[in-house]
Amino acid sequence: MTDTVAQPSVADAKAAPDTMAWDSGLRRLMMIYLPLGCFVLILLFPFYWMAITSFKPNAELLNYKEHNPFWITSPTLAHIKHLLFDTAYPRWLWTTMLVAIGSTTLSLIASTLAAYAIERLRFRGSPYVGLGIYLAYLVPPSILFIPLATVVVQFGLFDSPMALILVYPTFLVPFCTWLLIGYFKSIPYELEECALVDGATRLQILRRITLPLAVPGLISAGIFSFTLSWNEFIYALAFIQSGANKTVPVAILTELVTGDVYQWGALMAGSLLGSLPVAVFYSLFVDYYVSSLTGAVKE
């Protein structure tokens, strides 16, 4: 879209020589590519810094006078080795994976059924149930973690990953339900009517017709839930006490940050490894992420 396409009217008359003077390629460079480049540089720099720090030997890490900090002269795997063999890192990764998969599965089942009931079984008050679930999404974990901690203790789940699997759906279910309601809306109701006329039961319709058509929506909801549970911090910090049961984000902050001298190499290696699973997951399903992010906002 360029200004030259427009009719040269009164307002454009002044701008016209200006645009002529600017070489349109240069203008594009200054107005679009330069700011975009700055954005990308700033948004990605912390990751570059994280990655480069985790492969730097300590001597290079703390000596900017003799080594250019932006590059590594003698990369080392010492930090990653330390992390994998001298700490409980593999165990933390495993716990995080378990919690993320468990809570994602639970939320997917609960929200698929709920979305189906609200969108397709339409009953009196179904919009209000939908609105109620939406409002639940607006309740942030920060105001819930203290009473939830007492609830978790009451249930005897304190310090158990099970507590996290049961609690994470409180923010996953509202999100997934809204995403899936939107998705079910896009599936033509006539398909279900045909099946009803053919004598299929409601559950058969859900299993054979609606669910297969909603697979992209289910994938979106699933990977989104996985990412959100992988990243969750405050509940995991409040409900888990023993070192072995911690999730990666909490464990790095509470178990690896020790004393006054921070082991930046190990900390950054831990952050890098902890980010990798979601980053890999993300790179495989980018389009689903974008569609679920924007879909949920539009709903």
Binding site: F47, S111, F233, P249, V290, L293
Partner: protein, 318 residues
């Protein structure tokens, strides 16, 4: 049902028919479908929400059931300079971070709305800060803000020679406050930009064509077409952003833990420090409950944004 033609199959079919028929009655099916979601939310969201409000009116500590003390916790908070400090910083943090995120995010969305090669790849890269666990990127920022080995200080002192001494990012109150806000903006830009980009793509190009025929300048096109058309989605995204920035916990807890001298406590980190780390559950709950008025305000904002959107697009209120 053809019982005469296929007896074995029909028998097998009839066996669960009562159960099947039960699952086919609509009221029963509705209840069964809603039960897991509503059950989970009731036990782990609604009940704790109520319990939290109740706890705020008691003097419960870890290991001791409290008794009802009325407004004592809140009266104490009103005289507590640390609580006022946290309210002050929460409001500033939310205001500046939200403004920064939306100004830069909107700009990034407008940039991404142009045509250029590798657009989808770029869009994917830009979302990364939002995908990666916040605490882990916060650790990277902690290292970037290191008093001795900060890479920003290195750039300013040794490469550009703009300063003679290292920047003390986290050592004194105001620099620490702004360093945290910068980290929050960094993390929030991708979400805002990608959501707003989705909104931008729904604006019909014919509106711009009409405006250009009428001689509207680039600024006028933005001011009178882009901005009003984006209002509804801006309102929604901003509500989410405000709610989750105001109740932010991870960034502050990971980078400063409220220090130096409690200057960067948000209400959420203060509630954690008093409630979980300090064991004063009642007082922590009171701090958490004191966030609710702000959240209600933000939700009302969202509601009116939504209502306006329907009216704009000529939809009925379904």
């Amino acid at each position: 049902m053809s019982v005469t033609t296929l007896p074995p199959l029909a028998l097998a079919r009839r066996q669960p028919s009562l159960l099947v028929r039960l699952f086919d009655t609509k009221p029963f099916l509705i209840v069964m479908c809603l039960a897991p979601a509503i059950g989970l939310l009731a036990v782990f969201l609604t009940y704790p929400l109520g319990l939290g409000i109740w706890l705020a009116f008691t003097d419960t500590t870890i290991g001791r059931r409290g008794v009802f003390v009325g407004f004592e916790n809140f009266q104490y908070l009103l005289t507590d300079p640390l609580w006022w400090n946290a309210v002050f910083y929460s409001v500033i943090y939310t205001a500046i971070a939200t403004f920064g995120k939306f100004a830069l995010g909107f700009w990034l969305a407008l940039l991404l709305n142009n045509h250029f090669p590798f657009k989808s790849l770029l869009r994917a890269i830009i979302l990364l800060p939002w995908i990666v666990p916040t605490v882990l990127s916060a650790l990277a920022f902690w290292w970037i803000y290191d008093p001795q080995f900060s890479i920003i200080s290195y750039l300013l002192v040794d490469v550009l020679h703009w300063r003679s001494s290292n920047v003390d990012f986290l050592g004194s109150p105001w620099p620490a406050r702004f360093s945290l806000i910068a980290a929050n903006i960094w993390r929030g830009i991708p979400f805002v930009a990608i959501s707003l980009l989705a909104g931008l793509q729904t604006i019909s190009p014919s509106l711009y064509e009409a405006a250009m025929l009428d001689g509207a300048s680039a600024w006028q096109r933005f001011r009178y077409i882009t901005f009003p058309m984006m209002m509804p989605i801006l309102a929604i995204v901003m509500t989410f952003s405000i709610i989750f920035t105001f109740t932010d916990f991870q960034l502050v807890y990971a980078i400063t833990r409220g220090g130096p001298v409690n200057s960067t406590h948000l209400l959420a980190t203060l509630a954690f420090q008093r409630g979980i780390a300090g064991g004063e559950l009642g007082e922590g709950a009171a701090i958490a409950v004191s966030m609710i008025p702000f959240l209600v305000f933000a939700t009302l904002f969202s509601y009116f944004g939504l209502a306006r959107r329907k009216w704009q697009q000529g939809e009925s209120n379904d």
